[in-house]
Symmetry: C2
Subunit: 374 residues, 2 copies
């Protein structure tokens, strides 16, 4: 998924994302609740229509964001009281209020409200948060059922908004019910992860599963081990979503461990910083060596940046602080990850995923220093 926290994938247009072949966009309930407000988005006919994207959207619940507000939040069994990072205003998120927010946003997949803790937390703390997340899941399910019984999704009340003239995106509110994904927590403790997965499955039959609380400071081998536990515990015929991950190498490692869905700000954030993903590792376009380089960012890439512009030109855009540079690198990096996952799917179908991943990782790592996924 391309990350569109604030109802826009930074520096890209929905048309770019369509051309790239992006299949899904992620929005964020915390950020959109604060700005511009989930009720405003509901009044515009929902997130799809508001942002001009007619493909699938998933909204994260904001659990990760409110727990990142160290010192600005208080956790209780009821929920989390926190202050906005924008203006310091006071807010309370509960499983019930988050379901209302995500219903207002109208995404196709909505994540439960969960309790996120740092990656290296000790077992007692991890158990507390993991078990609370399961209890909050049950409350999310009940709250969503009550909202559904209360009537159709709020966005359908707004179908009679006048269509934007000549729009190329006919964007009705989604007619299907929103799919609620639970989130498996448990820190880096296999037994907690196992218990969480089982407790979640006892609550209901879900369309897919989030794997949360990873890529938050723990070591990579710990993350891989937790994915293997989840792989063993979760049904194989439902998508598993590894939240907040990641870099190209993390995606390949995740796919090898049964993950289907990822999101990360890396392609756009790194792109805005001048870093391009290539099959031979990362490339920093600001380096002097690219000044006279007529080659595209990544030889063999067919994205709109590589088809038309040289490294020398894109470096010029960055050294001159020109906005087009941010867009071209973001576009290339999102395209790179979409193509990587397309290649992985083809390798799975061909039964060659292990060899494909081994070869890909060897070539990529030969030129890239490992970095934190934080």
């Amino acid at each position: 998924m391309a990350v569109g926290t604030l109802a826009t994938v930074k520096s890209l247009d929905p048309v770019d994302l369509r051309e790239i072949g992006a299949q899904m966009i992620l929005g964020n309930a915390y950020h959109l609740h604060l700005r511009p407000g989930d009720e405003l988005i509901r009044d515009f006919g929902g997130l799809h229509r508001f942002m001009g994207w007619d493909g699938p959207i998933l909204t994260d619940s904001g659990g990760f964001q409110v727990f990142s507000l160290e010192g600005l939040r208080t956790v209780s069994e009821n929920g989390v009281e926190f202050r906005s990072h924008i203006d310091g205003s006071k807010h309370v998120f509960t499983p019930e209020s988050v379901m209302q927010i995500e219903r207002n946003l109208g995404a196709d997949v909505i994540m439960q409200f969960d309790h996120v803790i740092p990656g290296q937390s000790e077992e007692a703390k991890a158990r507390d948060a993991s078990e609370r997340s399961v209890r909050w899941l049950a409350r999310c399910v009940a709250a969503l059922d009550a909202l559904r019984r209360g009537g159709p999704p709020p966005t359908t009340n707004l179908r009679d908004l006048p269509p934007l003239p000549g729009t190329t995106f006919p964007l009705p509110a989604p007619s299907h019910p929103q799919a609620l994904f639970p989130i498996v927590q448990g820190g880096i403790h296999p037994q907690l992860r196992r218990e969480a997965a089982r407790a979640i499955r006892s609550i209901g039959d879900f369309h897919g599963f989030g794997i949360g609380g990873l890529s938050v400071g723990e070591a990579k081998p710990d993350m891989y081990r937790m994915l293997e536990v989840a792989d063993a515990e979760l049904p194989r015929d439902r998508p598993r979503y590894l939240m907040g991950v990641g870099f190209p190498e993390d995606l390949v490692e995740g796919v090898l461990r049964g993950v289907d869905l990822f999101d990360c700000v890396a392609p756009t954030r790194m792109g805005r910083n001048g870093a391009a993903f290539t099959n031979d590792g990362r490339l920093n376009i600001k380096r002097a060596e690219f000044r006279t380089d007529p080659r595209p960012l990544d030889e063999g890439c067919d994205c709109a940046a590589c088809r038309r512009f040289s490294r020398g030109y894109i470096r010029h855009l960055f050294t001159s602080d020109e906005i087009l540079g941010l867009r071209l690198l973001s576009l290339h990096n999102v395209h790179f990850l979409v193509r990587l996952m397309r290649d992985a799917r083809a390798a799975i179908r061909a039964g060659t995923i292990d060899a494909w991943a081994r070869d890909w990782l060897a070539r990529y790592h030969a030129n890239t220093r490992p970095v934190s996924t934080a």
Copy 2:
């Protein structure tokens, strides 16, 4: 012309400009000489290929820029010595060196190096600069002839650069000779403008004519009067280019006085500041009243921003500092001017230009306070 000072129209892509129907892009010899360097651009096959634009390009000579460097420059009959606004390095522009730079850039139309003065300059100062500009024109003509006799345009030496793989822009170096446009100066003094136009026409038969030194602080009626003088003195079958102008209303006033070609940073600069041109005047998208407004920026506009996004969404992008907002307003404003000039051409052909301009100006001014074109 869309303004692409540094080999990019700020926040837009050449594909956007094609879709908008932009016919020509302006680059700047001063800026491109300093960064990334005209010789580098020559080595990339020229400006068209460097920036991925296969339509016509005009380069301004940098006259306006070096004379804006108050305190950083010394003028002599030979040329101008100045310090770079980027790093303070020392440079000399002469008619000869500017012809070399513009030839390296490889635009289709290149402007002479001229002596630009403030709009309200008194007659003696204006005469000095205007007569110097004519002498410099003669040197530009001679220098360009010498360069042409010296061989084909430098870009043709680089045809064997490997093509960018799968490029959708086959961009050979221009095979036609570059057209040199003289620039009529003379401040706000009709007699000087008349003398300058006649002196220029005695030097040679040019493909088109620049009208310079306007929209630099003088009153609007003065500018209009100078356009009327130029209209009477310049051949009707050659394009007249009013340099650095302007806002929508200035374009319409210019067309009424025989101007064919304009350039101005207004559509992109104002767009980045949140201002959108509409047929009912300018609109500041950041205003609170647009928060819940489902209408497009300009009703009846068919640009890519108006076809797909509401004022409420674009306001959200601006209040959240999202890059897409800059692009959408820039795109809309450039589209607005391109469409305005298309409408003006149609009215000229239909013989209704006076009535069309009167009606358009009345509607536009009813909602817009006049502003400086500076």
